[in-house]
Assembly symmetry: none
């Protein structure tokens, strides 16, 4: 009786080669012209090997791209403003890379009609960014830069709003307006949001 794995194990190098080949192909030919056969050929692997590991093109591309977002991190630069500005610029730089830019938008587009894919994107990509917002808020509260939230519900709503505003603005500027996220723009975005947040919390100050 068997309970463990039997047979030849899957080649671990293959996974890495395939994901790398996928990213390379994305940069060179773009999402819509990326073919499984091409990826397989670039990876020096048979098409069968791809399909043994991923259900299809979409899933393969999401996995290939997800790892790129791991490098985003919240530094501790002393002030909330500096911390946020840094993340904005990191994110802008990431979306400036063709493989991230192309893949992210295409996968989102594809996801609008595929609940399963949507779930995969949410878990492998989006949630990681959201943690940056949560961590930033917590650190700012510890520093006394932001008042503690009135309640857990309000805190969650604020987190989501800030997340959508920051991520959305960066994505929109990069992919739709096609303008660079330079130091000046990052600074002005950060100021707009933090001013908005702070002034709202201290309405009397502006009266």
């Amino acid at each position: 009786m068997h309970q463990g794995r039997t047979g030849r194990p899957r080649s671990p190098e293959a996974d890495a080669a395939i994901l790398a080949a996928t990213r390379q192909a994305l940069v060179e030919v773009g999402w819509s012209r990326l073919t499984m056969g091409d990826v397989a050929a670039r990876a020096g692997v048979a098409k069968t090997t791809l399909y043994r590991r991923w259900p299809g093109r979409n899933e393969l591309v999401v996995d290939a791209v997800a790892v790129l977002f791991d490098e985003l991190e919240l530094p501790d630069l002393g002030t909330l403003s500096a911390d946020v500005e840094s993340v904005v610029r990191q994110f802008g730089a990431l979306l400036d890379r063709p493989e991230a830019k192309t893949a992210l938008m295409a996968v989102i587009a594809e996801a609008t009609r595929d609940e399963e894919l949507r779930r995969r994107i949410r878990t492998t990509i989006v949630d990681r960014q959201k943690r940056l917002v949560t961590a930033g808020r917590r650190r700012a509260e510890e520093r006394g830069e932001l008042p503690p939230p009135p309640g857990p519900e309000a805190a969650a709503r604020d987190t989501d709003l800030v997340f959508d505003v920051v991520a959305g603005a960066v994505v929109h500027r990069t992919l739709v307006s096609a303008e660079p996220v330079d130091a000046d723009w990052a600074h002005r975005l950060t100021q707009l949001i933090l001013t908005g947040l702070t002034a709202q919390r201290a309405p009397g100050a502006g009266a």
Copy 2:
């Protein structure tokens, strides 16, 4: 000797039928499963007629979707806050419709590697939205809700920033976070931005 147009003129009904068929197909089968043959059949037109008028799928879809954005308008509700909030909710509602949602993202994705397509999107879709921001700012200045910009350069930069923030946030919430743009969220987004803008212009108040 001829100097005028010769030959049978292109059927004007065909254009309308094709664009309508494209939108219908987008809703029913989604972007990635939309085929030129299917669109032609729905429109009661030969495939060649499509290719005589559009270079390919992407261009056809952009044109088919562009008209949807014509319906966005800046109402005059008496206050800047109410005006902005209205546009935010209109835009959210628009992106809630499958044909807009699907097509917009997919086309943007495709555009990341096609300068010509990018130009088409910029001119037929993006610029129309930007006019909403410009008009809103001008009206607010007339009402005295916002100070006149320090100079034309600063005004343009501000317009672009606000545009990226508003459009980006709405798009991100709708397509990535997959949450609805309801009245509450629209209100909070509007407050965040307007507070940020106003407080920045009167820095002494927040000090």
Copy 3:
């Protein structure tokens, strides 16, 4: 009240230009790649004009080629043998020309499934050749080289047989065996047939 033609008369030059263009196109691109649009363009004429005069490609090509066979003629060289040999060589030379070669076979092939086309070929091409055989036989009888036929039925049967043998052999050698109809071959074919015909009529001689 009108009883004659009204409106603009058909251009007579167009007919000649179209037939010439058809022959030229046949030589250059062959039957299966010959297109109506191409013929129209070569003739400096609109496609409509072609379709107003011929029902389709096949009919046009038959008419264009038929005229080539008009040049075949039975000379009077003094002996039946010389006369026949001359016709064989004329026919061989005709089939050596690409437009005749290509068109003849293709049209025959097409005709195997189109009774109407078959009739057109029979009347415009085949019957003209048959008259050569009939004329040759009559002249030979006048010269006393061949005995008068036993009866009209036998004469018709003999004519058909000789026609199929001569025409068939020349066509087969040219188009299937792809060998030239040179003087030697024409002489040997003529001798075979005339010897056969003469010896049959004088069976006692071979006993």
Copy 4:
């Protein structure tokens, strides 16, 4: 390291199914309306499978038709005359079948401008018939019905001539004159040729 064949082998059933489907389609719709898609559908095979094995329609049809000519054979009926007459009638019967008739002529027509196709026809169809003539002559010489040829060159020339005459006459009668190759016609053709051959070889007899 591999030295043998790799990959999935081609299905041998597919070949047979495709060729049979081609013959069936030829009979039903004729050459000019025969489409690769239709053949594929009839064979229960994908279009790509056809193109993987044959460069195009012409080559496919030649191969599909070639096997029909395999059934022609030279019987031993005791006399040269009877043997030849049998072959003539077999050939006539073969050309009476629509798939042979249509395909043969059409392919020959196409071949007039395609050297490669011409070669294929020569090797897969024509040469097989020529062997019938050679065998008939050899057998007749063994029986003493024909004198041995004066030399190898003359023998080859005679073989070619007889081949072109017999095949050409049968083809011409069937496809151009559109008359049946019945027993009477076959007999008269055979007599014409054999009389001509014999009388030529014994010129003194006829003097």
